[in-house]
Amino acid sequence: MPEHHHHHNPYDPIPMHILRAYYESTDRSLKTFELSFDKQADSEAFFKAYNPGQFCQLSIFGKGEAPFGIASAAWEGEFVRFTVQKVGSFTEYIHTLKAGDAIGMRGPLGNGFPLEDWKGKKLVIIGGGCAFSTLYALTKHVQHPQNRPDYDQLVVIYGARSSGLCMYKHDIQSWYQNVDFEIHQAIDVPEEGWLHHVGYVPDVVREVAPSPDNAVAIVCGPPIMTKYTLPVLEELDFAPETIFTSLEKRMKCGIGKCGRCNIGSKYICKDGPVFSLAELQELPDDI
């Protein structure tokens, strides 16, 4: 007789509520949300699976879903952080949410960064704009005293269009006190009182010139930044196997079913979003 399988339904959002919501940028285009779980069991399942570099679908009934990179490390607490840029009607709605409001979440989705493979290596973390969020999670993860010994030197290069758009300001400011890693922040055009780099991320990378010895570089940013940063890393002799990036596509299901993010034999949502440059070079030019 029929065997009815009542599996976990991967389309069913996890019930969450907003713990904290605060603007990240002075122009209020970027807002950070920290979500907590309504049910303890969901929290446990999430943190058992979570790896920095993964993303979630934020889900609002009647509005839909959209993918966002996770901006927090597990050790920070039992919450999940996202920084949402207001770009369309869905994100505009999310921006209206405040502490205590309910929201759905599906995830963690995707592969995340290959942290095991990176153990013992120097990490060169290069980010631009709000795509820096998952790199922030990565940096936070590595910073934890329990994880820090697993990695060699840490170099963070982070660019934003202006100082007002720089995210996670207070925390990043404190990184300058850290002796065991380098932080380089950049904005596109000079501003009074700005003490750090001025210029586009690829140029800052060239200026900082991190050594490729025993190093991996992780690049996340707008497509144009990534496009011009990859050749700089190749100039610096980073091999394609040691350069990683995260792709963003129109992902709907997030679990490799709906077909939307298919590029060549890969589904970005399931096989990615993190790929090495060597892997990307194997894919057809359909990105």
Partner: protein
């Protein structure tokens, strides 16, 4: 074990099954035949070609509710998953093979799709082989055959006044246990019918080395040439038994989250919020359709993602023929990769 259903007994047999199962069979609908619940209309088992709508819609409906929510935007109870067991009677081997291919996408250990799996696992496929394959069919070219058993619980071969049934699963065995057993004579006859059907199907194109040809010619002008007359209507994908792409949208007035078939043949399918579209013209979209079936499926499960059902050939409004496209691909010169 092999059984016989006499044609004059067929109605009675199907009715008897209906007590325990929802029975679907190809029936004559207003404009074209389709897999419908038994009793909807006259049976259309005698049509040599496939139903226009592929039976995949019984596992992955064209539109389907995933979740219901209330006015306060809280999630409501689970959507009911077709609790009754079903029989798909008269499914052609190409469509059964397509269902088996789609199992590799939906019925997975990790992130199993419960909507697909619950329907699919609760459905018996009683196939009907094709003694007279229409000229649009090319299953033998892509690794199938007009009497292939893959994905089927049982396979029928039509004889003059009866159906000869080969049974492959225990569950299906229960259905036929009370029916007369086939004779040796009938079995010999069936072998002839099956052999002769295969012999009627000339290879439509060469598949050996085809994937490599397509991969190597990803940037070729070939794609622009073969897609020149394409209207971008998407019928080739909507009626394809192996196409599975879908969109998820919230139907606000009904308070439902639904998924709808979608297609890579539409411009909006790949259009991103930034305005960037990786597949801006029909050239890239046609390439995606063919590459997915004849290259990417092979990377995933080492099988071609086309079962040769011929619907895309039969129903293309401008007469585009995937077989001709693939013959043209085979005729291309090898280009060095990344040329």
């Amino acid at each position: 074990m092999n059984y016989i259903i006499e044609k004059k007994q067929l109605e009675k047999v199907l009715k008897a099954w209906s007590a325990d199962y929802e029975v679907y069979a190809p029936q004559k609908a207003k404009q074209f035949s389709a897999f419908l619940p038994l009793g909807s209309s006259d049976l259309a088992l005698d049509e040599p070609h496939n139903t226009r709508y592929p039976p995949k819609s019984l596992f992955l409906p064209q539109t389907e509710v995933l979740l219901r929510y209330n006015s306060r935007l809280n999630r409501l109870e689970d959507v009911e998953f077709n609790p009754k067991q079903r029989i798909l009677f008269g499914i052609h081997p190409c469509d059964a093979q397509a269902a088996a291919l789609l199992d590799t996408v939906f019925d997975t250990d990790e992130d199993n799709d419960p909507y697909w799996s619950n329907r699919r696992r609760g459905t018996l496929l009683i196939g009907l082989g094709c003694a007279e394959p229409p000229q649009t069919c090319f299953c033998t070219t892509v690794g199938g055959g007009p009497f292939n058993a893959k994905g089927l619980d049982a396979l029928m071969t039509e004889l003059e006044d009866a159906y000869f049934v080969e049974v492959f699963s225990e569950e299906a065995e229960k259905l036929f246990a009370d029916l007369p057993k086939a004779t040796k004579e009938q079995q010999n006859l069936v072998q002839k019918v099956q052999k002769s059907a295969v012999a009627k199907m000339a290879p439509a194109f060469e598949t050996e080395g085809l994937k490599q040809k397509l991969d190597d010619n990803f940037d070729s002008e070939f794609w622009a040439e073969i897609s020149e007359s394409c209207l971008g209507c998407g019928v080739c994908t909507f009626l394809c038994p192996t196409c599975f792409c879908f969109d998820i949208v919230d139907e606000v007035q009904r308070s439902e989250r639904v998924r709808n078939w979608d297609t890579c043949m539409f411009r909006t399918y790949s259009l991103e919020a930034s305005g960037h579209n990786p597949r801006p013209s029909r050239k890239e979209r046609t390439r995606q359709r063919l590459m997915h079936k004849y290259s990417y499926w092979l990377d995933h499960v080492n099988e071609i993602g086309c079962t040769g059902c011929g619907r895309c050939v039969r129903y293309c409004p401008v007469g585009l023929d995937i077989r001709a496209m693939l013959r043209a691909a085979n005729a291309l010169e090898m280009e060095p990769a990344n040329a």
